[in-house]
Amino acid sequence: MDNEYSPQKLYDDLVAHRLIIPVGVPGIFGRGAVFEEVLRRFDSFLSRVAEKDGAEVMLFPPTLDRRVLEKSEYLDSFPNLAGAVFSFMGNERDLAGLSEAIHAGGSWEAWQKMTDVVLSPAACYPVYPSFTGTIPDHGYLVDMQNWVFRHEPSPEPTRMQAFRVREFVRVGTPEVVIDWRNMWLQRGVDLLRSLGLPATSSVASDPFFGRGGRMLAANQLRQNLKFEVQIPVISKSDPTAVYSFNYHQDHFGRIFAIRTPAGEIAHTACLGFGLERCAMALFRTHGMVPADWPNAVREKLWT
């Protein structure tokens, strides 16, 4: 087993085995049949781990109400990552200008207007407005999966612009949310290790934009609001975060007027498994050919 870790090596191996299909733009490569099979089986494995939790499954398209993005303050923190959707809203006369600009190879931005939808920057965003009001005694637990978009073109195969996340969202009193977090802190590491992946966890911070961002990150670290579970995928010394847990305190509760039965602002937290990164971690750790993986791992995924 080759133990060399580098972004280029992983990329080359994934391409050589047709696990990913380059398209000429970084971060939006295609996924091949075997890659997809592993990803879907990992996703199903997560379902089995969480099946007794009583979560409500919800599936949203990979688009978000633009006003929800604006309200959420995402753009104050990560303006550089968000992707908005623009469209042509002109008439036939305008079409002539649009076509000319496109065929001349120039910019056609001026011919488009912002629509009411944006791409989802995280899988959980679409569900928060539905929590507005008083939550039930046991709060909410939602099970979601979606494509998310982040404008981060990169040659690293683990840093994609469009990728899928399996997400769980918890809404409740601070005690309920913190308990849930403590449960998942251990569960996330255990389930990845049960697949033979050398997972470690640590407190982490988000890449908030700018100087103010450093202050937000210091805040987040100090209060242990975020933790990540990492696995070496493109580097041994700098393992890749494949799972992150984010405690929002009252951020979304305040913005979306979510209250506990006692009338307090509800707390929320979300956790997400980066499905492509988890699949890549499996390929990097066990090899590019799943048929050759250890039986103990295969038994968990091919049940």
Partner: protein, 82 residues
């Protein structure tokens, strides 16, 4: 404008406190009084601009920005000898 007054002036403009910034105690927890993380960033940037200082990373903390006393101590340290 004396430093204390200037600090409270900035808190009034940026901290979004529930209480009155001119009269809260020096050691009142500003976060408990309503200042969010984002508001604290705006406070930080406004203080830098007003006092012509740059807070080093070690000062970008709740200890410094959590109270009027903390803010004043940090600015006094950064402007010492001016």
């Amino acid at each position: 404008m004396p430093m204390n007054e200037a600090i409270r002036d900035i808190l009034k403009g940026h901290a979004r406190l529930r209480a009155d910034a001119s009269s809260i105690a020096e050691d009142t927890d500003l976060y408990k009084a309503g200042m969010t993380s984002h508001a604290s960033v705006n406070v930080m940037l406004a203080l830098e601009s007003r006092f012509d200082v740059e807070f080093p990373d070690r000062m970008l903390s709740r200890e410094v920005f959590g109270t009027v006393a903390g803010i004043r101590a940090a600015i006094e340290e950064l402007t010492a000898g001016r």
